[in-house]
């Protein structure tokens, strides 16, 4: 479903955020992309979703070459960005209809499909509201609805539960699992929460400072460690440039929790 080779990105200002990422994700998997803040998760995801042009490397996403045929990739993927995408001033229903129609759906089937997606996400009755009148958890589920409305086969979720209360987080996890079970969706999600990776993902890639430093099932990554926290600390502690972590990598709540032990 996803295959990348040597994917990298240097921003115009000179910051190299991703330095040679190789990933392989099979159809039907939930794959977690784990790493501290500033590791390059969002940058990688924005390349895979055609939003950023890679500085180097190649990738096939949902059966199509990322660089040669970005439109074919866009047709088959859904993307929920880290910051969300619900317009504060427009009734979500209107934006959802526009979104679905831009994937080629006609108005009537689009409305029907939107109704189904909203029902499934427990959002029925809220669609006439503008984003500003929704709670954080509701808004995040609408973000998910935007990613799902055209029936993609591959869904990208960038930190889907950051900032949500525990109940909303658990609810969102349930929805993600359900999408895989019932629709066979492949899910690629970034997170800096170890519990989220542990609870949700079949397989994990750990990224630190722009390179993949570990890969495997949560159980494999835990190895002898009692928890993923300890394993994570061990892994990122062994990464290149060890010693003082960079400013960005010290910010994550997960690494702070790990360090406190």
């Amino acid at each position: 479903m996803i295959k990348t080779s040597g994917l990298c990105k240097t921003f115009p200002g000179g910051v190299t955020a991703v330095r040679g990422v190789d990933l392989a994700v099979e159809a039907g998997e939930i794959v977690g992309f784990l790493g501290p803040n500033g590791a390059g998760k969002t940058t990688t995801m924005r390349m895979l979703t055609t939003l950023l042009r890679p500085s180097g490397g190649t990738a096939t996403v949902a059966g199509h070459d990322l660089l040669a045929d970005p439109r074919a990739v866009r047709r088959r993927i859904g993307h929920v960005s880290q910051g969300g995408a619900v317009s504060p001033a427009v009734p979500v229903r209107d934006d959802l209809l526009l979104h679905a129609m831009l994937y080629g759906m006609r108005a009537a089937p689009a409305r029907e499909r939107i109704g189904k997606v909203l029902e499934r996400l427990g959002l029925t009755g809220l669609e006439a509201r503008p984003g500003a009148a929704l709670s954080g958890g509701q808004r995040r589920r609408f973000d998910l609805a935007f990613g799902l409305v055209h029936g993609p086969s591959l869904l990208f979720l960038d930190e889907p539960t950051t900032g949500l209360d525990p109940q909303s987080r658990a609810g969102l996890w349930e929805h993600v699992r359900d999408l895989r079970e019932r629709d066979g969706l492949t899910v690629f999600l970034t997170t800096h929460y170890l519990d989220e990776a542990d609870a949700l993902a079949d397989r994990l890639f750990v990224i630190d400072r722009g390179v993949i430093v570990a890969e495997g099932t949560p159980a494999e990554l835990k190895g002898g460690s009692a928890s993923l926290d300890e394993a994570f600390l061990a892994i990122t502690g062994l990464s290149p440039g060890e010693g003082a972590p960079s400013a960005e990598t010290s910010g994550g709540s997960s690494s702070r929790r790990g360090a406190a032990r």
Partner: protein
């Protein structure tokens, strides 16, 4: 091509539905030229004509309304809406052009209002000339709105409003909106010829007067067409680009 037209239409309808809901926004866009019409027009009419002033106010509203169209995109970048649109397979030109056309429709509504009030005060222009002038202003609005969107995506968000509102004032003055530029000293006249708006404005004055097949009209139409083509092309490139 069919996808381009269809998606442009869809984005246009969506933008228009939102714009029409915000009637206060449309009213405020035309308020300043209307104030000129009401509070300055009667004074101006003692030395000039309404047929000179109203075309100037049409250029003014075009710059104030379509010229500020990029404001919407600043908000859409911040809220993640633009990025959400950019992951859809919609052609990038449609994402821009749909927006731009809906800004241009807003401008048309404002221009019609201005002309209608102008008639109330004593404007006497040929009906066909007025229709042709409104069409020309709408075309100019496409170019201006596209330019404004492109500028908005190239500037830091907090700079957009001050930069554009500062640029609008000299452009209005240089167009000869309030007095014909033929009265200006040589250097000012020359400078104003470099800005596109003077040519469009003089074409509108000719059209109002019922002079349809003049070089001035041809120049105005050509300038508006060229501006639109260049700005839509540039805007589409900006919409396709990475970090938008």
């Amino acid at each position: 091509m069919r996808t381009v037209l269809r998606d442009t239409w869809i984005v246009f309808l969506h933008g228009t539905r939102i714009a029409l809901r915000q009637k206060a926004g449309i009213a405020f866009g035309v308020l300043q030229p209307l104030l000129y019409l009401v509070l300055f027009g009667p004074l101006f009419a003692t030395i000039g004509t309404w047929e000179t002033l109203v075309p100037g106010l049409l250029v003014q509203v075009a710059l104030l309304s379509a010229g500020m169209a990029g404001f919407g995109v600043v908000f859409d970048v911040r809220s993640g809406v633009l990025e959400r649109l950019r992951v859809t397979p919609a052609p990038r030109v449609s994402l821009l052009l749909g927006r731009v056309l809906s800004s241009s429709l807003t401008l048309l509504i404002q221009s019609v209002t201005l002309v209608a009030v102008g008639y109330g005060f004593g404007l006497r222009a040929r009906p066909f000339g007025v229709l042709a002038a409104l069409a020309l202003m709408t075309l100019l609005g496409v170019g201006l709105a596209a330019l404004s969107n492109a500028i908005a995506l190239n500037l830091a968000p907090e700079l957009f409003a001050p930069v554009v509102s500062t640029a609008v004032v000299p452009l209005i003055l240089l167009s000869g909106a309030f007095l014909p530029m033929s009265m200006a000293p040589g250097w000012l006249d020359a400078l104003s010829r470099v800005t596109p708006f003077r040519h469009v404005l003089e074409a509108v004055r000719d059209l109002f007067a019922g002079r349809y097949l003049t070089w001035t009209v041809a120049a105005g139409v050509a300038v508006a067409l060229l501006l639109s083509a260049v700005c839509v092309t540039a805007g589409t490139r900006v919409f396709s680009r990475d970090a938008a």
